[in-house]
Subunit: 221 residues, 2 copies
Amino acid sequence: MPNIPVVETILSVNDQLAEQNRKTLDDAGVLALNVMASPGGGKTTVIGKTIDALRDDVRIGVMDGDIVAIDLEGFAAQGIPVSLINTGGNCHLDANMVHNALPTMDLNALDLLIIENVGNLVCPAAFKLGSHINVVIASVPEGADKPYKYPAMFSGADVLLLNKMDLAEYMEFDVEYFRHGVEVLNPGVAFFPISCRTGEGLDAWIDWLRARLAEKAQPGA
Amino acid sequence: MPNIPVVETILSVNDQLAEQNRKTLDDAGVLALNVMASPGGGKTTVIGKTIDALRDDVRIGVMDGDIVAIDLEGFAAQGIPVSLINTGGNCHLDANMVHNALPTMDLNALDLLIIENVGNLVCPAAFKLGSHINVVIASVPEGADKPYKYPAMFSGADVLLLNKMDLAEYMEFDVEYFRHGVEVLNPGVAFFPISCRTGEGLDAWIDWLRARLAEKAQPGA
């Protein structure tokens, strides 16, 4: 590929900006999630359920990389601070986009920043944002072979949510094949099968996230 | 974005190579499909069903942009000529990849070449391959808002298959909202709701494709 040097330069600059973003977030005491999934994997719905579970005692903001604000309107209507990163059709968020969006939010008024990436299992994996936790959402209807087909995304996950478990009974989904693919790439990754429709598994995910928030609040503990 | 000139150059070179690919395909009398979808949208399954329906009287080859050959092994076992375009984790096929892969297939022995793109609703839309028909597969579990979120992909479709219709009864899927989104972007696009599991709608898609093959075989008609 003739353009590899260009790509390497972009990634290097990206990493530097990601480090700056991380410092900005850390200085404000904000834990940031980078939520990634296929189109229709359930990012927005999972974020909504997460907000519902935490909002009474966690101050949450949402950044959304998208070309339209329809996902954010519902959150904003609930009084959640939101920021649209208009990707103009780009295939991923990068650190510069987040860098430009961070000043639009009052970070000192937040504990948790949820960044919803572009629906894409390939490109977002290559671009650090400066966030603390990579949340990858897979979904049952996508099929159990996805870890084998998109290894960069699954190997970079800090936590993996397998969404739409309520549909598992209506289709063939080999959970063991899926888990094996994940385990080879990312041994011991936090893994939660969930259904936003039935609520299955959401408590375990929320407990895990609460533990990360507690660690962040007491970094010396 | 500082790299727009680079991107423009890449796209211009890509278009030239796509024209060369088109000529190569036309000279051999091959109709080529560029099959695009989200990860897990059902590309490989739809291709399998299409092969099953046509193979008695249409000579079919498959090219697959992927990092592993697992999708192709099944087709090869059935005696279908296949070629793996190893994308090395790239997020889309481009005309150069297809250009390099075309000589690996005996085009004069084919009527139909099915090119399975990388699972991604963003990047593949920007890169012409030289194929004749853009086949976009959406699937019910991805949600009815996808045309609104990924307009470039839906506006570039020559035919749109809405897959996994068998799951529609187990979830909320507003077909009218989906169709409205498509109609605004791409009025009159050929649209077939299908289920590879139950067979629903596949005959209509196959009839449509047979008509395109007949046009190709008699370009003066």
